[in-house]
């Protein structure tokens, strides 16, 4: 029991309530100060909870409704290292976004801060809760804040379209999750995840499979796994840049977090005999997502949309990491989320900076215009290398942990997917860097006849000639942190310990339902030779650089007969992303049905 446990939700929500009550009286600076202070306080408390949870997960029963005889009626927070770590990371990104937006939205009072704090509180609650329905409520709170933040620029029609697509697909997802929760409650009479897991035990039947498919698909919509991903690019293209930082940096990853949490507390028991099928399904989903996302990413010229597709590709890699169903791979997922979140946030912040300075996020229109922004150029370049998982970045650590885990169970082929995804996404970002910051290649109108011009309104009030420190520093600090977390010794071991705790279903149940003291066994020091991984990762980086320069040079074979099939495939893929909500929901429905049928067939055959 810890008195601190509810605070990561209470502090942001109270601050949001105060800010919205004092909307008329508070000046903008005070609102900034209050929001940033509340975020820092939340982050520090989550950090303290993380320290406490390292030896024993912190369990808090609201109102003192502790379980009797293994029956949990109350609602609990079960704070294990993985959840607390996610909450700390969330606070860090919200802080970066708030600092960046000090120069944003001068005219609109404090509503932006209120929504950001609501978003923060919901995400913290989402990572800390031990109750399935509570998870759904925080999911919806998080979604509602996200929808409003996404459609913040109400005067832009694209913005409304993107926000509507985002809100409708994600709300359908929430109903899928809720239906799944209802089915599980009908079977087990419980909402506490530990109790559901214990009551289900190893029983698998049609109802459990249906509940599994609904809950997984619902959270996969949030995680933007193909074919549930369509909303993501639209939402990122229209959302204000600081909001994109949170969408790509943590919200999407929380979809994966929820899937992991639910799988390891509830469904690992029933599917214990069918791990092979689950693994195959997740690896297939992840691979398709990683490949298609990477291809779509390379084909974009709208920088925010490009980064959004890169996020989809990397979520595919995380799904692969989950699908390996091993503690070491799960540790890799955690490290990768941190590394990717930081570099992706930095990239979005630089995109926001470009928008602030030049009123555009169109790669071709910005051709050569950012030459004088030398420091920003360095940050963008470094972040692009982080995206390619260059050794030294946290992404590299995460990626090599996942690939090593795959190799141990004879799935070494996933290395090819990691290579492909890293190559194309990093090459796309490096191409943007070369064109925008170095003036390489061609600019507007050279090769894109028929491609429509991108219109994006400024997000800041006055035109600007310098780069404010508040806009530049968060990006620079995030890239440095991505390198620091990539080099800190012992972090990988800590992640492995956290992963083992998350996967320990019996320990989780004993801690939650019997108040048992189940000590956390720290993962042993591992001595994996780094050689092969480093070589591969350097090769990915070098290949990405090569591809980026090739695509900027006049030797780029855009019209060559050999690349025509590729170009046609890409055009076909792009035409599927129609921006039409009906199409998106149709794909989503098809995805849920296909997921369910394939899983049921596999389980039945086995």
């Amino acid at each position: 029991m810890s008195a601190l446990a509810p605070l990561p939700v209470v502090i942001p929500l109270s601050a949001a309530a105060i800010l919205s009550a004092l909307n008329k009286f508070l000046s903008r600076r005070w609102a900034d100060a209050l929001a940033i202070l509340a975020t820092i306080a939340t982050g520090l408390i989550c950090g303290e909870l993380l320290l406490q949870a390292r030896t024993q997960p912190v369990i808090h029963w609201f109102g003192g409704w502790t379980p009797r005889a293994g029956v949990a009626l109350g609602i609990s927070f079960v704070i294990d290292p993985m959840g607390a770590g996610a909450a700390v990371f969330t606070s860090l990104l919200v802080l970066a976004a708030l600092v960046f937006s000090l120069h944003y939205f001068q005219t609109v009072g404090t509503l932006f801060h209120v929504l950001m704090l609501g978003f923060l509180g919901a995400m913290c609650g989402f990572t800390l809760t031990g109750d399935l329905f509570n998870l759904f409520v925080f999911f919806e709170l998080m979604s509602a804040s996200a929808f409003a933040l996404c459609g913040y620029k109400v005067e832009e029609p694209e913005s409304m379209q993107g926000a509507l697509n985002f809100a409708i697909t994600n709300t359908v997802g929430a109903f899928l999750v809720l239906s799944g929760i209802g089915l599980l409650y009908g079977r087990t009479g419980a909402l506490n995840m530990a109790q559901i897991g214990r009551t289900l035990g190893g029983n698998l039947d049609g109802l459990v499979i249906t509940a599994f498919v609904f809950i997984m698909a619902g959270f996969f919509i949030k995680a933007a796994v193909i074919p549930f991903h369509f909303w993501l690019a639209d939402a990122h293209a229209v959302a204000p840049t600081p909001v994109c930082v949170l969408f790509s940096g943590i919200m999407v990853e929380l979809g994966i977090y929820a899937v992991l949490r639910v799988y390891w507390t509830i469904f690992d028991g029933p599917f214990a005999a069918h791990r092979w099928e689950i693994r195959g399904l997740l690896l297939a989903l992840g691979s398709i997502t990683a490949v298609v996302g990477a291809v779509m990413c390379f084909g974009q010229r709208h920088i925010k949309r490009l980064l959004a597709f890169s996020t989809i590709s990397h979520v595919g890699l995380l799904t692969i990491g989950f699908g390996l169903l091993k503690a070491s791979a799960l540790a890799g997922v955690a490290l990768y989320v941190v590394g990717h979140g930081m570099v992706k946030a930095a990239l979005f912040l630089v995109a926001g900076l470009l928008l602030h300075r030049f009123s555009s996020v169109d790669e071709l229109e910005l051709h050569g215009r950012a030459r004088e922004l030398r420091a920003t150029s360095v940050v963008f370049f470094a972040a692009a290398l982080g995206l390619a998982s260059m050794p030294g970045f946290a992404t590299f650590r995460g990626e090599s942990a996942m690939i090593d885990a795959a190799g141990e169970i004879g799935q070494g082929w996933v290395r090819a997917i990691f290579f492909f995804s890293g190559l194309l996404t990093a090459a796309a970002v490096l191409r943007v860097w070369g064109r925008v910051f170095r003036g390489m290649g061609k600019g507007e109108g050279a090769e894109t006849a028929g491609d429509k011009k991108i219109k994006e309104d400024r997000e800041t009030s006055q035109p600007s000639h310098g780069i404010p420190a508040a806009m530049f520093l968060p990006a620079a600090v995030l890239v440095l942190l991505a390198i620091a977390t990539g080099l800190t010794p012992g972090l990988k071991r800590a992640a492995r310990t956290a992963a083992t705790v998350m996967q320990d279903r019996a320990g989780y149940q004993a801690r939650v339902l019997e108040h048992a003291w189940v000590p956390v066994t720290p993962a042993e020091e591992e001595h994996t030779p780094m050689g092969k991984g480093v070589v591969w990762s350097l090769a990915t980086t070098a290949a990405a650089l090569g591809l980026a320069f090739l695509s900027l040079s006049r030797y780029w074979p855009a019209k060559h007969a050999l690349v025509r099939p590729v170009a046609l495939t890409v055009r076909g893929l792009r035409s599927i992303h129609s921006g039409h909500i009906g199409d998106y929901v149709a794909f989503l429905t098809f995805g849920v049905a296909a997921f369910g049928v394939v899983l049921a067939a596999l389980v039945h055959l086995h």
């Binding site: 029609p157 709300t171 809720l178 239906s179 035409s575 992303h577 129609s578």
Partner: protein
């Protein structure tokens, strides 16, 4: 307990999805989403139903009297609150769309392709 309520729940879910996929008007589409949502109400309530059960009010009732499950009713109420928020937000977005583009038809919006 008959399976009829579950059939209704599935029907509402499917017809709501069909409405969303084929809708030509965002206001209509948001209402279809609300129809889809009502399938979760029916599902939750039928899960908690007990044959011959009374309302879950336990004052002045003999111990052991069957009652329907109050937990799912609480879930459903939360669900309604959540839904009211989301529908209000979506309608506000649709209103802004109408104001700035003079259309509510998803087919006419072409800004976010590829």
């Amino acid at each position: 307990m008959s399976f009829f309520p579950y059939v209704v729940a599935v029907w509402l879910f499917v017809i709501g999805l069909y409405g969303i996929v084929t809708s030509r008007n965002f206001v209509h589409l948001v209402i279809c989403l609300a129809v889809l949502q009502s399938s979760t109400y029916v599902l939750l309530l039928s899960i908690g139903y007990r044959v011959g059960g009374t309302a879950p009010v336990f004052a002045g009732v003999r111990v052991g009297t069957p009652a329907v499950d109050p937990v799912v009713q609480a879930l459903m109420l939360t669900d309604i609150v959540v839904e009211a928020t989301v529908v209000a937000l979506l309608l506000a977005l649709a209103l802004q769309l109408q104001k700035h583009t003079n259309t509510l038809d998803p087919d006419k919006l072409k800004a976010l392709e590829g």
